[in-house]
């Protein structure tokens, strides 16, 4: 492990996100890190210990890159974790674009001026998009196709392309991109947890794609591993195993509402424009086609393998002890 004698300094954008907060907590306990800068627009719930310092950084401000560069230089930051991304779609798409796409540009501008040793970006497997031609397991080399009309996904794709270009232009910086499968767990809140919290869920009639999740604790552990390791490149961070969508709904006890595609699309469009649901019509493609990633590379190079199976992840999201769920299912099958 390469840690300088003085100890490492880490900066984290999006410190108030679930992963950002978890990373702060984990770095706080690790003596190899002497200082952690939490960058966000509001202070995170700081863990006691006193290593962490909150600095208000709003990535949508036009000259924030200069500010960030001074910060990088002054604190001699060795690892930069960029995680200021939305976890669920918003109707304020202009603002989302400023934050994710342009915000990444600001971050990279600063990191081009003052190069950190290591740069880590938090991304999602949604950037591959759900397409009928997807193989069962998408490797990191797969094209980032995003989604035809999902700004939520496409902003992340654009941000990731910028990071890839940055990695090429700055070979001295170790750049790692972590693509997380949808994160489920008892405390995290994102598009999928909100979607699965509703009592009723749409099903595209006659379609039942396989789904993949990663437990929040596994995801946080993977991020910690990425900060500590020296691996470069993109990594899929995925949970153990896959399950069909309708099984996921059944395990969650949600009422599946089968709809023909045409109806589902029109209905979601109306509900999305009237702001009654939190998932845009483009999300329906993820209920139609596969978007499952292969985590072999993270296991090989990052030393990360998920601890919890997909079923445990789902039951833990519900807050159910495994015995309960298991016997429930066993009884149902008997």
């Amino acid at each position: 492990m390469a840690s300088s004698t003085t100890g490492r300094v880490v900066a984290v954008t999006g410190a108030c996100t679930y992963l950002g907060g978890e990373l702060l907590r984990r770095l706080e306990e690790d003596p190899r890190f002497v200082r952690v800068l939490a960058l966000d627009i509001r202070p995170p719930a700081l863990a006691p210990g006193g290593k962490t310092e909150f600095i208000k950084i709003d990535l949508t401000q036009p000259t924030i890159d200069g500010e960030l560069a001074t910060l990088l230089e002054r604190h001699d930051i060795d690892t930069f974790v960029h995680g200021a991304f939305l976890s669920h779609p918003t109707h304020a798409s202009e603002w989302a674009h400023e934050l994710e796409d342009v915000g990444t540009m600001h971050v990279l501008n600063a990191c081009a001026g003052v190069e950190p040793r290591r740069f880590i970006m938090i991304s999602t497997t949604l950037v591959y998009g759900a397409h009928p031609k997807n193989p069962n397991f998408l490797t990191e080399d797969a094209e980032l196709r995003g989604h035809r009309d999902s700004r939520f996904v496409n902003d992340k794709v654009r941000a990731e392309r910028q990071v890839q270009r940055y990695a090429k232009e700055h070979p001295g910086v170790e750049v790692a991109v972590l693509r997380f499968a949808p994160i489920l767990g008892p405390t995290v809140s994102n598009m999928y947890t909100r979607f699965f919290s509703r009592p009723v869920a749409p099903v595209m009639m006659g379609h039942d794609p396989l789904m993949q999740f990663v437990h929040e604790q596994d995801a946080a552990f993977a991020l910690q591993q990425a900060v500590e390791s020296r691996a470069v490149g993109a990594f899929n961070i995925v949970g153990k195993g896959v399950l069909p969508y309708t099984t996921v709904l059944a395990l969650l006890g949600r009422v599946p509402l089968p709809m023909p595609q045409l109806v589902a699309r029109q209905l979601t469009k109306i509900l999305w424009t009237t702001q009654l649901v939190g998932s845009p019509p483009s999300f329906l493609d993820f209920l139609l086609y596969l978007c499952v990633a292969d985590g072999a590379r993270a296991r090989r190079e990052l030393g990360f393998s998920p601890r919890l199976s997909i079923k445990r992840t789902i039951l833990d999201f519900l807050g159910i002890a495994p015995e309960d769920g298991a016997t429930d299912v066993a009884r149902a099958q008997a």
């Binding site: 976890s87 809140s189 947890t193 039942d208 896959v242 445990r312």
Partner: protein
């Protein structure tokens, strides 16, 4: 319903990106919870190849004090359960039993475990009677050369394709599972058009079908599975009655590349009888594209008899498995990039299967009455 519309407030303090859920009573409670029972992952068999009968066996037998402890834990977890509705109705009304019953009901007939590619061992078992009926009663399949299939390790079955519905892949699968001593599971590669058909696609997937994709096939073969490919693809299924048993072009030789790259032996398979099971007299294309299929088949029974017309005619079937061809011995994995060689090998194998088919056709006297005429 939660309000997901975030104000476009750049300096705002509203919930931005996924922080802790405010509805959770104690969001930072993770480390404080009694994690003894969560500590090591109870394996639920969500991964590849866990036989269904083993899946439930992870529940450890519990002693008396263990049971009391468990009840205590359950009670505690119950208290900390994330409310699903804004008001937790379940806690106010005695809905827990109803909810449990509903979950059990919803799980009935569901794939509880699937392997990495979506195959559910229970689904296969559930449809077994139908396959067995089709295999031994309806089509009266005679399978020969099953000993050419290795007992373990990877192999690539290359077969001809016919009929508007993939009964042939189902029969090849069932033949190996039923009559091969190792009872191996064949993973057939399924064309996109069938794989994305509503209802049929997911069923194909649960009983073992995998979308025809070179990456999928390579992954399966590297996992030492038995993979069946139908290189004629859609062209094979779209053959008219007049072209029966005339093999179409074998794709672009993808299966040869696959065999070279993975070192899997190729086992040529000839299926005779599938053409007569659903003889396609003609196909209608003008309306079909609108409902997402390449054509609507016209058979002696379909569409005249409605959905019942999709049932196959009771033709007599023969399935022959040929001797394995080990391409890896003569050519190295690098030759997968030699296009001329790949195309030549693909055509050789096509000719070989055509010969096998012709031989079987010569043996057969009548497509339907073979049982009586021999």
């Amino acid at each position: 319903m939660t309000d997901d519309s975030d104000p476009p407030d750049p300096g705002g303090d509203d919930d931005w990106y996924g922080e802790a859920d405010p509805r959770v009573p104690d969001a930072s409670a993770w480390p404080d919870r009694e994690l003894g029972f969560l500590g090591d992952d109870v394996y639920l068999g969500a991964e590849a190849g866990i036989p269904s009968e083993l899946a439930g066996s992870h529940v450890p037998s519990i002693s008396a004090e263990g049971a009391a402890e468990l009840r205590e834990l359950e009670r505690r977890v119950e208290q900390q359960r994330t409310p699903v509705f804004p008001i937790d109705l379940r806690r106010r009304l005695p809905l827990e039993g109803v909810w449990r019953r509903w979950r059990s009901l919803a799980m009935w007939g569901r794939s509880d475990i699937v392997d990495d590619f979506g195959r559910d061992p229970r689904a296969t078992a559930r449809w077994e009677w139908l396959f067995e009926f089709l295999y031994s009663r309806w089509f009266r399949v005679e399978a020969t050369g099953l000993d050419n299939i290795p007992h373990k390790g990877r192999a690539l079955l290359v077969a001809n394709h016919a009929g508007s519905l993939p009964y042939d892949s189902a029969m090849v699968m069932h033949a190996v599972r039923r009559d091969h001593p190792a009872r191996r599971d064949v993973r057939p590669l399924v064309e996109d058009t069938v794989f994305h058909l509503p209802f049929l696609g997911p069923i194909m997937n649960r009983i073992g079908g995998v979308r025809a994709d070179p990456e999928n096939a390579e992954r399966l073969l590297l996992g030492d599975e038995l993979v069946a490919v139908f290189p004629e693809g859609e062209k094979g299924m779209g053959k008219l009655w007049k072209d029966r048993y005339r093999l179409q072009r074998f794709g672009r030789g993808g299966f040869v590349k696959l065999a070279l790259r993975t070192g899997a032996p190729i086992i040529p398979v000839a299926v005779v009888g599938a053409e007569e099971a659903a003889p396609m007299l003609g196909k209608v294309t003008w309306f079909a594209k609108n409902i997402g299929i390449p054509w609507i088949p016209v058979t002696p029974t379909f569409p005249w008899l409605g959905p019942a017309g999709l049932l196959p005619l009771p033709s007599k079937w023969y399935v022959a498995f040929g001797a394995p061809i080990d391409l890896g011995k003569a050519h190295g994995p690098a030759s997968a990039d030699d296009r001329l060689l790949v195309n030549r090998l693909a055509d050789q194998i096509r000719t070989q299967i055509q010969d096998m088919i012709d031989e079987l056709l010569g043996k057969r006297r009548s497509p339907f009455l073979a049982a009586f005429l021999g």
